[in-house]
């Protein structure tokens, strides 16, 4: 208390370094946070989502070969769900990866399922399957009910479901080998 007058006279001359550095540091931190948040959404858009860590929404759909397929029937196996359509360019680019992945699976390995999303003409989808020699079931989703349940906002979108039926990873906007492997690793499937 008694030394206040002396500090008051001394203070204006010698401001501590940390106090002089504080305003530019705060400004730099704000710029940093702004930059980080501006750049981050672009990264988040392709993966993640509210379904991660939750049980995969159940469905029973009919394949183009008229075989009913339900997710429940695949319990105990990891599942890779791919929403696609024949008119979607990136779906074409990733199709060879799915053929390769399908060929690599054993009877107890990952189950791969395609689900058509806003397919305008079924014959186009059949031609697509033939062109890329896809050997796994591709299912119709009339009314996009399953698409909405999985929060599909654009295609291609791929959902990686583990053996317990929990969604572990989602990837939007076209897979590369690396991105596919990230999802496969999360559900305990050997990568390509």
């Amino acid at each position: 208390m008694t030394d206040t007058p002396s500090t008051q006279t001394a203070q204006p001359k010698s401001v501590p370094t940390w106090r002089r550095a504080l305003p530019p540091l705060i400004a730099a931190a704000l710029v940093g946070v702004l930059g980080y948040t501006l750049l981050n959404p672009a990264k988040n858009v392709t993966t993640g989502g509210p379904l991660i860590g939750k049980p995969a929404p159940a469905f029973t759909l009919t394949s183009l070969d008229e075989v009913p397929v339900s997710l429940a029937s695949l319990k105990g196996r990891p599942v890779v769900l791919n929403f696609w359509a024949s008119w979607c360019g990136p779906c074409r680019e990733e199709a060879p990866l799915f053929r390769e992945l399908g060929a690599q699976q054993t009877a107890n390995g990952a189950a791969i399922l395609g689900i058509l999303f806003q397919e305008t003409k079924e014959q186009n989808a059949r031609d697509f399957i033939k062109e890329y020699a896809l050997a796994y079931p591709n299912l119709r989703d009339p009314g996009i009910n399953t698409g909405v349940d999985y929060g599909v906002s654009g295609i291609p979108e791929t959902v990686f479901i583990d053996r317990a039926g929990i969604v572990q990873h989602m990837d939007r906007g076209g897979l590369t080998r690396e991105r596919l492997n990230v999802g496969l690793k999360k559900i305990g499937v050997k990568g390509l």
Binding site: V45, T46, G49, P50, L51, A85, W87, C88, G89, P90, C91, E93, Q118, T120, K121, G143, I144, N145, G147, V148, D149, Y150, G151, V152, S153, G154, I155, P156, R172, G173, G174
Partner: protein, 188 residues
């Protein structure tokens, strides 16, 4: 690469670029293609067996429209509501809203249904709870904190020195003095 393939090939191809998440560089060009593709798609869907639109009593209809205005079309970059959007997914979501209202679900249950699938991104009026409170509260907190800091600063500094004192302290400048005399200003 991906943004470029679309429009040259066909109108429907253009739509593929629209639906992918990555933004297209040729947006203007795409927009014109999109118009034609939307037209083509609506033609294609006119032939498909459409589910009959559910008729609701006027009060429920009003609720449905209000909810549809508050839900964002998940694949439109423009932030359009599903009430305004013409995309297939919005059509589907609109009918889903009506079905859920007919099933007797409350507004909040319907919003929860969509936010569980698409995240809070889909809500055009996000709830003021949980983490969102920070969004609403942060400006007020910043205002309060800034005000307190300013008050403390002014109080510690005491009354501001008179402007004359500052002027007296400045070193004598003959040129500035000349200017002041010529303009007749410059205070006392």
């Amino acid at each position: 690469m991906r943004g470029g393939v679309g429009c040259r090939l066909s109108a429907v191809e253009a739509n593929s670029n629209r639906l992918t998440v990555k933004p297209s560089k040729r947006r203007k060009h795409l927009a014109s293609c999109l118009l034609t593709s939307v037209f083509c798609l609506s033609l294609a869907h006119a032939t498909a067996p459409a589910t009959l639109p559910l008729t609701l009593p006027p009060a429920q209809e009003g609720r449905a429209v209000a909810i549809q205005r508050n839900l964002r079309c998940p694949l439109c970059d423009t932030g359009e509501s599903i009430a305004d959007s013409r995309s297939d997914i919005s059509v589907k979501m609109r009918s889903s809203v009506r079905e859920q209202i007919a099933d007797g679900r409350s507004d909040s249950e319907i919003y929860t249904f969509f936010s569980q699938r698409y995240g809070n991104f889909v809500l055009l009026d996000p709830p003021k709870t949980g983490r969102n409170l920070l969004l609403w509260g942060a400006p007020l907190l910043a205002l309060g904190g800034g005000g307190a800091a300013l008050w403390a600063f002014l109080r510690r500094r005491g009354p501001a020195p008179a402007p004359d004192a500052a002027q007296d302290a400045e070193p004598y400048d003959s040129y500035l003095d000349q200017v002041r005399r010529d303009t007749g200003g410059g205070g006392t």
